[in-house]
Symmetry: C2
Subunit: 155 residues, 2 copies
DNA sequence: TTAGGTGCAAATCTTTTGCAGAAAG
DNA sequence: CTTTCTGCAAAAGATTTGCACCTAA
């Protein structure tokens, strides 16, 4: 934990940025909630527990900065808010998402299944892949048990 | 063209919706720009050529409706606006995206490479796949020729 | 005729920005 | 000290909504 913060501090400083109290608190929240895909608003509420003076704008600025440094990944599930994922860069660990259109749950595939496809992209399209994103939408195992067949209905 | 509109009209009517002048104009714009990923604002400007009275809110409402009917797919590239893609449902044609982080260009892979992966998701996760989305971020063939190595710099 | 649609303007929501004061190195 | 940060409030965008008036079927 402390060592990961130290590492991020180095990354910041090597680019001329400072590790402020607020930034450290934000990073700690990210580390403590690695499993989740928190929005800036979610982060704000959690960070306030550690640094009550912090403003929402600072959270946005910090997440933006960490995003540029590739410490976090900014993702968008199309629900109107950006979410942030800590990047496990050491393991180059990309995960994929299973989004249930019925209950809204989001499960994860923790492996990276795209190695072969990335090679194909490089070979066939001369495109150098840096990152990728794969989401599946469908019905999760919990909902598919429930025999729930509702049709599209007018609002 | 006309037949595709007719089909969409059927889809609307089967759910109790009407094919208004504005909706038809919107659908025509979608058909004429199948290759692009237009935002609601883009759509609005193009639709106005055919139906000058239309309001932006109607474009949003129409796109939302077409999205519910799975006529279009709402996608989000993280640039702050939602974009809409006409769904080629007859061929179940899902394409993938190659997004260049250098020049911002977006190319497409017009095939569906995920068949085997979808089977794996169903088998290993008991998740019934309805749709998917795959984007690669990286350097496109145009930019990789240009020897452009800039580092992250403070704003 | 009548449910569903529309335009307009106002309201919401997320994210960004300007600025004067605060703090890290 | 000096440069980078921060909080606050205001601004900026994108999208949604309320409402009184239309219109497709």
């Amino acid at each position: 934990m402390e060592e990961r913060i130290e590492k991020i501090k180095q990354q910041l400083q090597s680019q001329g940025y400072k590790l402020t109290h607020q930034r450290e608190a934000t990073v700690r929240v990210l580390l403590e909630n690695e499993e989740d895909h928190l929005s800036a608003e979610d982060m704000f509420m959690l960070v306030r527990d550690k640094a009550p003076e912090i403003g929402l704008a600072t959270v946005y600025r910090t997440l933006e900065l960490l995003s540029e440094l590739h410490v976090v990944e900014k993702i968008n599930f199309g629900d109107g808010v950006a979410r942030y994922d800590l990047r496990n860069d050491s393991t180059h660990h990309h995960h994929h998402h299973l989004i249930c259109v019925q209950c809204g749950a989001m499960d994860e595939i923790l492996e990276d299944w795209l190695g072969p496809l990335e090679e194909r992209v490089e070979a066939e399209y001369h495109f150098t892949v840096i990152d990728h994103r794969l989401d599946f939408q469908g019905i999760c195992h919990r909902c598919s048990g429930k025999e729930n067949n509702k049709s599209t209905e007018p609002k």
